[in-house]
Symmetry: none
Subunit: 123 residues, 4 copies
DNA sequence: GTGGTCTAGACCACC
DNA sequence: GTGGTCTAGACCACG
């Protein structure tokens, strides 16, 4: 367990999620250059190969494009990014609701529990 | 693999979660006998050893106890089970909120998105 | 895990040790009758078969003899019992010393650690 | 079985103890790499899976950490190791005293018997 | 019948 | 190369 990585999930998937989150948040803006595989590898104490796999997967998802000799960049296609953001949001919410119902909680309890937690941490 | 298993997570952990959910929901009541490792293995088309591993983890979590030659049973300790249910609920909610905030949504958006989804599916 | 039994060691061996201890302490005197397999089984919530195995082993060690239709009795041979007591004592001490040395403690440390613990619990 | 293993205790637990002893003695130093599961398996004529099980337990005890693709290493946390050594020492002494008292020996007899044995083997 | 351990041999992800 | 998971099939202790 090098850095902050879960043992059960492949590291490259966890990296992928980290990058996606940065994009969705807007920390990485459209067209912006991602760190090189070597940089990111060094940063997370991870083999560059592993970063490479994450980047390849991101390219397959079309949220990133690599330009030979220049590096890897967030896609210029804003619609795609917006769609990504919406899609992730819906997925997260859906699986959350599904999990909670599976555990025997109904809609009211879910909302109640959630509000409680949101209040705890102010905001 | 064979049945309804995710490829990225070990089968024995997925089995473990299935059992925990059944316990938390009350489908498996306190003191009730779990299916034998061979039965559950057959049911999920999985090796009995794999089930065994899940059961061993459950015992380590104290939600289950095994009686030699008799089988594996949900613990009689109701307090432990209630605690488990609460703990799981809080964990799920916490990681959900954390994930959503990480993606750049604030409390209001989270509640709004959630309500929307809950309405979609009636209930 | 019915009563106070260790999961890793066969129950019949643990029973055997319990009986031997009672004999060595003198709680079960020479010639005295042991409880029936059914009694002891009931007392420890254990199958009479298991008790039977423990008794058979005790007979093999010659510390016990069974008389048809009467029951199981501690041997009349006091020399044998004294020898048993001495033997157990030496074994226990030997394996204790061996274990401690294996862990890197020398004679002085062993005595010191032991005295400390004996004082803790008064006596 | 094959090598120097007790029949009544699971091999993986005996392996675990062997490793713990090596760590406690300082034969395996902090941060040092343990043999691979295949190596140790070959050395003890035991299946790598069995070694793996021992290593997994060690990790659960936090005395060892595994680094993906690199191997298994003694934890860097010296405090943890010192605590382990002290804990094992106290446990060993405690169960020894308890066993001896159970057999009817008092503090004086225990110390006497022990000194005798320590002198026998010189040192 | 039950769970617990072990083996042989396989495949995977990661380095 | 490393550890992690899984299977098939075996044997054991216990009830």
């Amino acid at each position: 367990m090098t850095d902050g990585f879960n043992a059960t999930q492949p590291i490259y998937l966890q990296l992928l999620q980290k990058v996606i989150i940065q994009i969705v948040r807007g920390d990485l803006k459209t067209g912006e250059k991602l760190p090189s595989v070597r940089e990111l590898g060094a940063q997370f104490k991870v083999n560059p190969n592993t970063v490479q796999r994450a980047y390849a997967e991101l390219e397959r998802l079309a949220v990133v494009e690599t330009r030979r000799g220049l590096g890897t960049f967030v896609t210029e296609d804003k619609a795609c990014l917006n769609q990504l953001r919406e899609q992730l949001k819906h997925e997260k919410i859906d699986t959350f609701i599904q999990d909670m119902k599976e555990m025997g909680f109904n809609a009211v309890e879910i909302i109640a529990g959630l509000s409680e937690h949101l209040n705890d941490k102010s905001n």
